[in-house]
Symmetry: C2
Subunit: 228 residues, 2 copies
């Protein structure tokens, strides 16, 4: 599913490590028959490991990304220190609070929910932590696992101003460090590989909010351009 933020996580790790892969995007409302043969859980993302005997399939974005990080250690995404690694995983886990708030917002209609509640305040933890670290990225000079695991929702955050009438952006006063981080992230090679701008995300999110999620939006648009 081209717009799935969990699948996005896996793309980021694959691209950061330059692992060759072939992506197949599926329509979640009309899953192809072969998909149930590949993934018993019918969840996305699902990664089929074609170099392993029996072509086993992994699911769950964090499990897939941790596997890729251990299997392809050339560009390590976690700190070497085991304690720091565990602390990074806690930050990744904790980001789930913000993800839940984000979905609540996308499926309902009250941006105040995200702005005013503890969930948006949840971002303050990351603002403070990055300021404390004093590095460009959470991972240091280059993005690490925490950066990439947060990014799909941060990229989509920019779409909110197109989805809701009122202007809805990260406050430069409250989030100066995260705003600078976002600008650095957009320049990262792996992030660029899979990047979509806020307007495109908004278009998809609006189709989902209307109850008719347009999973093939990019494909159909490309076809129209080609035919046009």
């Amino acid at each position: 599913m081209r717009f799935c933020p969990y699948a996005h996580r896996v793309h980021l790790v694959l691209d950061a490590k330059k692992i060759p892969y072939h992506a197949i995007y599926i329509n979640l409302c009309d899953k192809p028959e072969w998909f149930s043969l590949v993934s018993s859980s019918t969840k996305v993302p699902a990664v089929e490991l074609v170099n392993e005997p029996g072509n086993p399939v992994l699911i769950e974005s964090l499990i897939i990304c941790d596997y890729l990080d251990e299997k392809y250690p050339e560009v390590p995404l976690y700190p070497k220190d085991l304690l720091k690694k565990a602390q990074e995983k806690i930050f990744i886990e904790r980001f789930g609070q913000f993800i839940n708030a984000f979905y609540y917002l996308v499926l309902h209609d009250n941006p105040e929910q995200l702005v005013d509640t503890d969930h948006y305040d949840g971002l303050v933890v990351y603002e403070e932590e990055l300021k404390r670290r004093g590095t460009k990225f959470f991972g240091g000079d280059s993005p690490g696992m925490l950066d990439y695991m947060m990014w799909p929702w941060c990229e989509r955050f920019d779409s909110l101003k197109y989805t809701f009438e009122q202007k809805f952006e990260l406050s430069p006063k409250r989030f100066p460090t995260l705003i600078k981080w976002r600008d650095f992230m957009i320049q990262d090679r792996a992030v660029k590989c899979f990047y979509l701008d806020g307007q495109t995300h908004a278009k998809y999110i609006n189709s989902r909010r209307s109850g008719q999620a347009d999973y093939n939006m990019l494909y159909n648009e490309a076809k129209r351009v080609k035919l046009g």
Copy 2:
């Protein structure tokens, strides 16, 4: 919290690896003041690493257990093969469906929910998988991470027959392999270290269902015995 199944997971790993530790059980409804100083999230389990500079605290049962497994590799709980390790983590993640069903049951009042739905069928996956492996434990000759991460709820499963009027046990016809597994698990040294029988779990669960969770049940009972 003595009855917390997530904390139970951490006890099992600590005991399996014979890592020395000091446990403090807290009352979740009346948390001691010092706890917020130790754990910013005020969640249990929280593990304070007193040998590390600054006494850092880790939270989240799976993150703690994975950290302990990497930090104390003497009794490895995951398969060495990275793919098998990832597959083991997927089985651990998937067990969450059963955990959700279990809590639904404990907090509501309809055992059919657990018996008849897909969630109980969720256990079939583990029955089939263990039968396929043909080993005593999921981990082989001794319990591995999957065995220990499932165990807290399996130990508590035995309490259901005391909590609900109707007899409520694992069907020997549907779950012959898991029933044998349970008998093996109860003989495991680490499991024995923290084991409580079904009647004791039921007593706690009933106090929780009544709205007055008796977190200090064992402490108070021991005191009564001592005074008596």
